[in-house]
Symmetry: D2
Subunit: 338 residues, 4 copies
């Protein structure tokens, strides 16, 4: 950590900063420049990150040098983490192709969609039973009945299933039915929820918050990893921006950016990122070319009657065409899709 | 609601859209322009908002006309809502001056701070017992012990107290000690939490999410109001932006913007918005001049030893000077500070 | 255009709005809903866009239906525009691979770089002679001497050359040496500059502004097209965002988004978008997979001694490896690279 | 400047970085920590800022310590700069109240507006003769005729006048008629324009770019100051954001933020920042309470017939009411309005 002092800081202020550092069992290293005095601190930076050094009179800036996450960092684990959801692997060259409707609406509709996406090459089935909706007057999901349908249809088509958990109290229930927990964008910093999925050993799909930096996402990952659950897949799903012709702005560079900083797999959700079916296939292709470990796509056989987020779903036929192209791109970038 | 059709939409597609509208018991109103055909829909727009009309082939845009919130709207309640927290009123010309440390650290420190802020004119005491922290390795709050201290010190100084609730399971516990629930920015769309504080009748301080629009905030307010709790105060606390010299960007125009759209009181938190003590006083003054119903400020008697967010706290002396200026500004804009 | 009236608008106000519409030679179309009265306007929407209808008392919202650009729109030209820069084609399936150093520094360095990028498959050489720099104390480019070097080295390697023009007065000079004008992000709304390159017939590379929406970019394109120059290539180069680990946020969805709205070719510049050499190759691959008509990459044989933006340049060897992968991806998405 | 090395940097790489620093005549200062080695550099940081040290293998981060602007900095000039536009002073406690229509439309309309705003207390008259418009089909201003009208009406009402200059070639013409140049948000990084107004000695009103940070604005100020023109007033006018109910987001904290970093006066333009007449008065009041050196407001006697930006103008009567309140607020914050 580097502490930069104000140009007019007094010797007493400098001494006071040094004392605080020594009190914490760390070693200060003073450099006096022409315009500024700076203090480098040698030792465990984490001790200092908890300290409000910035509030000491005479201090201008405190610059951390180390990343604030450890278990999620590439330095902690040089090789890529591979997450297994039953027989499916995500990461380390294996693509997780997650597909299904936004919400579980009925067994018949889910069965039809699952048949289509499985045939096209999807390897994980998704469907929401608890839906976070901006409006209290919108459809909020079927709850446990939706979980049962999801489990049954997943089993029928031999696909593991992922579904969102919104409240720590839902964890035991969702745990009973699903193969993977999804933490939605709005809950990326719901720390109790993170800790409690971290206490299970079930795989977690953690979506990036709407205004989270890549580092914020890795800090949320750290909450889960710190509780002992290593089975974590990240998901880029777009962030808020001024662009008004897409729902969110897909930050595609987050894929290689996360891969440089962390060993965790990262997939891309072009459905929520763009909110527009015409943009989903090119963004899914771009994600695979950028090195993503999978793609998460909403598919519905009748988007105009979908009970949630219909306008951002692909038709089964469009999904099948997309999967053909993805298979060929995956080959070029050295990924496998089983 | 206005449905705009694509330039090349076929008569069959137009008929199909009209059929869907009629099926929902609404009345379509067709206008054929030179370049586009548009359909106005007369009737309860809410029925339509739940429908994915955008997904119908031939539809280019769906433009809602009505605001998606009802109980929070100015049209629902023409006069300003006044929220009472024990003897303190917020709204309708009365300023809520909330002050205190970021986190409750000990009875002695809180007592000292409470004495100072009360003397300076604060009328509500704040202090966190459950702290949402970006890092799992940071101080997470004293929990129930913190709540007890907060209650005792509040009583000693005859100030009502507000504290954050992060998880629906904490509601009964927090309810026992606090006079007002705070919902933090990270939980603005934690819908289960919103519903459950909505089921109490205790006042709620709802903070704007880091990337929430003003309408998003009012939709979250609607969740609480729809459960029957009308005692709601909103709080602007800055949003994420590209500006890198402040922690967030304080959207000051949210104050009159909310007042135009809603009857709910809104206060401003310049501490979290700026993250810089030098910017807190001018932003607090600006908030009052802009018509805010109060200001939420972190005060600590030794910011450099604060266990959470010390660098954004004012010293008691700075707070007292600020309150002097605020009193004079309040007079100019016709607000009272009791 | 749709005019939405306030809930409490008076009959006089409604009549006044209707009069204004009729005065403009347009036809109003009134719909009275339960909660709102709306007026659809039939006729040339452009007449209305220039009018401040929003300012009329009783008007709540004015919603344009048509896009504000014409010549740039896909409706104006159904087939993809192909821009020719000497023998090179960009658009319609042909990839423009623009490469070279940020700034022209010397004939020797440029010659070396040009030899490398040409061998790797680049078909247009870039290099700045006039450099827009955030600081007045940074290197501002070699001016005419730089243009001469660029021309000579381009000729030697049989590559057309592109370079930035920052000021309308530089147009005749740059026109003499370059095969394509570049308009930088900071000048995307320098309207005099746009008009004057529009008055030439030389190809233009127009970069997206740092906070321009896709529609803003197409409006700037309209300025050039409206002056009669159809030889226009757009360039996505990242926008400002809150993410602090990359220089800008590459909005990859702008590629298919522009292609849906416009017939103009669009390329991607991952160098400026990310500012990080480790992210350039995956983003270049993603751009091609997303359907971009080319990629613009900075290459320098000694980034650490480059006089401008060295840290975002690839080494010639890295560029050659990237081009190998791009060739294989281009085949999958049906693009040719000559 | 601090150079942070990668955890696995080799001794050769470290030596190479040190050599480069010594070559530049500076003094490196090595600190080896547990996890990272860092090098502090003593000497003129500007030499280093031009160097792409980030591109050297083994370097992880380069952290500048000094601000990149000098002449604009508070350290360069401890006391507030006061800019004089004829008899009017802006800065140092004196408020510049700039008002007038967006565009000069006719002598009669401008005369009427000028009479009203002068009576209400405005001390500088504004009006555009060259208008930057997003669409090539919108009204582009009256040009020299508009300048003449502005001069005449300014003289008639004894008010100095400010008007926008968009192109360096317009400087001599605008110089002849106006008392202050305005550089618009879209031209904040039009560096040739900045340099050339910097070569005059006429006051300049520099508006913040739509996605410029406060530091970017101060760097643009530096361009003007570096050419020798010290008569510079900055203007906060809102930045681009995701909020969709206001035209831009007014960054009110930029006012005290600039005042901390710079000696230059800064005013606020709530008209462009919000785009909504209902938000202009509270934001103007907030600006004065925050310490701004003035307010820039568009006033039009018939906004619905204004040829440019009518919907964001106040009526003369609204402006007069606002000025009454501003006068009382100014007194509280110790500003004078002559």
């Amino acid at each position: 950590m580097i502490i930069v002092l104000r140009p007019n800081s007094t010797p007493e202020q400098i001494d006071h900063v040094i004392e605080r550092i020594v009190e914490l069992g760390l070693k200060p290293h003073l450099s006096r420049g022409e315009h500024r005095t700076i203090i480098g601190v040698i030792g465990d930076e984490n001790k200092l990150q908890a300290e409000p050094l910035q509030a000491i009179p005479g201090v201008e800036q405190v610059l951390p040098i180390l990343k604030p996450f450890k278990l999620a960092s590439r330095e902690f684990n040089k090789s890529d983490t591979v997450v297994r959801i039953r027989k499916v692997r995500i990461g380390g060259g294996a693509l997780g192709m997650i597909a299904g409707p936004c919400a579980v609406e009925s067994a018949a509709i889910l069965d039809e969609i699952a048949g289509h996406v499985k045939a096209a090459g999807a390897n994980v089935l998704r469907g929401g039973a608890f839906k976070p909706r901006t409006s209290p007057y919108s459809f909020q999901g079927l709850g446990e009945q939706g979980l049962k349908i999801l489990r049954d249809i997943g089993d029928k088509h031999d696909m593991p299933v992922v579904t969102e958990v919104m409240d720590p109290r839902q964890i035991p229930l969702v745990d009973r039915y699903a193969d993977m927990f999804q933490i939605g964008a709005r809950n990326m910093q719901n720390f109790d929820l993170l800790k409690e999925v971290g206490q299970t050993r079930k795989p977690v799909l953690l979506k990036r918050g709407m205004s989270a930096t890549v580092k914020d996402m890795l800090m949320s990952a750290e909450y889960i990893l710190a509780e002992g659950n290593p089975n974590l897949v990240l998901c880029e799903r777009g962030v808020r921006s001024f662009e008004d012709s897409t729902r969110n702005m897909l930050d595609m560079s987050a894929v290689p950016n996360v891969k440089g900083m962390s060993h965790l797999p990262i997939i891309v959700d072009p459905s929520h990122a763009t909110g527009r079916p015409d943009l989903i296939p090119p963004m899914a292709c771009a994600a695979v070319a950028a090195g993503a470990d999978g793609v998460h796509i909403e598919v519905h056989s009748c988007p105009e009657k979908a009970m949630s987020d219909g306008p951002q779903a692909l038709l089964p036929k469009q999904y099948a065409e997309l999967m053909d192209r993805i298979r060929r791109l995956a080959e070029v970038v050295g990924k496998t899709l089983v």
